[in-house]
């Protein structure tokens, strides 16, 4: 996505080096790394707390120091427990997400592209959506037992609604004018779906999947807190019962890491299909890349 030859971009390239030369070079190389800026805040906050703890400014009985949490994580990892718990949680989210996203996509596509079906089905789905998903838990346990099936059903329920809603509304919002171009070329319904509707909704679809994934992680915790013998949610409950705040925080950190990693993977999978997007965020990003290239030269 290099902006080739546009006058604005050329001017930006020319202007960049003189503007940045005033800063120390190493700081710039550091800040230029895609992860650096994102890590700055958590690292800074953790360091500050660690420092306060070492100086005896805080009582660390309820909020352990970062080094303590890291040590707990390390111990869990060395004993093999961490891998077991992370794997259990990840597999539940994966299964629930797959089921919820697939059914949400299918239903959303149907109601989004067929007005008659939307009038028939959507009110019911919206009514179901209004029920707090946790209200289903007793029923799922009665129907599916207390083991994996009820947990995955709960996660799938959580994932279904944002995906359904996102797909349905983005279908309804596809630019009529682009559909008309397809009509002029006499596309069949299937071709219209494949060549215009699906590519048009893709950016919104990725957004819907991301919110679905986020809810998947929310519901896996709920499911695991309500009764599990392994999983990060189990670590939380176990930590509470045994009075081990470091274990609770270790589980929370693990949640943050795998949640972020899953989200990152989802974006990475769709990124090649979205290179065409013309958005504010992308324009800023390519300007940054161009600036860096200008400096390297």
């Amino acid at each position: 996505m290099l902006e080739l030859g546009s006058a604005v971009e050329n001017r930006r390239l020319a202007a960049a080096p003189s503007r940045v030369r005033t800063h120390p070079a190493f700081l710039h190389r550091l800040a230029a790394h895609p992860l650096a800026l994102g890590l700055a805040l958590p690292v800074l906050a953790a360091s500050a707390y660690e420092l306060a703890f070492r100086l005896g400014l805080v009582e660390a009985r309820l909020l352990p120091a970062p080094s303590h949490i890291l040590a707990t994580l390390y111990d869990l990892a060395r004993a093999g427990d961490l891998a077991t718990h992370v794997m259990a949680t990840s597999l539940r989210v994966l299964a629930g997400f797959a089921i919820g996203a697939a059914t949400g996509t299918a239903h959303g596509a149907l109601t989004g592209s067929l007005p008659l079906l939307r009038r028939l089905l959507d009110p019911t789905v919206q009514a179901l959506r209004a029920i707090p998903s946790l209200a289903w838990v007793p029923l799922f346990i009665l129907w599916l037992g207390i083991f994996e099936a009820s947990k995955i059903a709960l996660i799938a329920t959580g994932v279904f609604f944002p995906v359904y809603l996102g797909v349905m509304t983005s279908f309804a919002n596809v630019d009529r004018r682009l559909v008309e171009v397809g009509q002029m070329f006499r596309l069949s319904h299937a071709a219209l779906m494949r060549r215009i509707l699906l590519p048009a909704i893709l950016p919104d679809y990725v957004g819907a999947l991301r919110s679905g994934l986020g809810l998947g992680f929310m519901f896996v915790v709920a499911a695991e807190i309500m009764g599990a013998s392994e999983g990060l949610g189990f670590l939380l409950v176990d930590g509470q019962q045994l009075g081990k705040p470091d274990q609770i925080l270790a589980a929370i950190v693990a949640f943050a890491l795998i949640g972020k990693a899953a989200d990152y993977l989802l974006i990475a999978v769709f990124a090649p299909l979205l290179r065409w997007q013309d958005s504010y965020g992308r324009a800023r990003e390519s300007a940054r890349v161009a600036q860096r290239r200008g400096r390297d030269r």
Partner: protein, 249 residues
């Protein structure tokens, strides 16, 4: 030959957009339709495109009745309407999916070269200027080699210089593909510069007011006395068709 026979359109709400327009257009002819707002210019074009259905009357192209989009009829809209997820070349080849890839590639390359955009083959639509995007849209419509190309104020959003440039491109494309052009515009100079015939519509409901045959040689000299005179005549007719200007209050 494209024949519109007593073509009329009344919308569901009872609004008569077009009342009984008849028109015969020869193959390869350039016809400009001009008129103020509310005279049904765009409705006329959308009926011929098959995007809307006539309330009464008929459209025939070389004896074949037109009721739905037809492969021999192309459309260039007011906006370029390029697919943002396809490259420039993929946009131009959009209507050629039924052809083998090698043949499609050849047609696309020729079409892009004809609008001087061969260097933009792999670019995204977002990287194009307004004039470039509309050239790609012209290319996309003409790559399918329609017998009739409908143009709905395609240059109205462009600045004067770009518009003049697009006029040249359109005339060059017309010489290359020789389609019948039916151009809707509100720009009198554009109509007289491009068309063999200028049709003036009157509003509410839209119907034929008068028509002018412009038999000036091409390329047309916009400063010549003959051109100025033709333009003046069309302007007068347009003013008469639209009625006197009333200032409210």
């Amino acid at each position: 030959m494209l024949i519109l026979d007593r073509l009329a359109k009344t919308y569901d709400g009872g609004v008569a957009a077009l009342g009984e327009v008849s028109l015969r257009i020869d193959a390869g002819e350039i016809v400009a339709v001009i008129g103020g707002s509310g005279c049904g210019k765009t409705t006329l074009l959308r009926l011929v495109a098959g995007l809307e259905h006539a309330s009464s009357g008929s459209i025939t192209l070389d004896g074949e009745a037109i009721r739905a989009p037809h492969p021999a009829i192309g459309f260039v809209f007011q906006e370029p309407r390029l697919f943002p997820w396809l490259t420039v070349a993929e946009n131009v080849g959009f209507g050629l999916a039924h052809l083998p890839a090698a043949q499609r590639r050849k047609i696309v390359e020729t079409a892009l070269a004809r609008v001087a955009l061969d260097a933009y083959h792999d670019r995204w639509p977002r990287e194009l200027s307004g004039g470039q995007a509309q050239r790609v849209a012209l290319s996309r419509a003409l790559a399918a080699e329609p017998k009739v190309l409908l143009l709905d104020e395609p240059f109205s959003a462009l600045d004067a210089l770009t518009r003049a440039n697009l006029h040249e491109h359109l005339l060059l494309l017309w010489q290359a593909y020789r389609p019948t052009l039916l151009l809707v515009t509100h720009d009198v100079e554009e109509a007289v510069k491009l068309a063999d015939r200028v049709i003036v519509l009157q509003p509410r409901p839209g119907r034929l007011f008068t028509a002018f045959v412009i038999d000036l040689p091409r390329p047309r000299d916009l400063l010549s006395a003959a051109f100025t005179q033709a333009k003046g005549a069309v302007l007068d007719a347009l003013a008469a068709a639209t009625g006197p200007v009333r200032i409210a209050g």
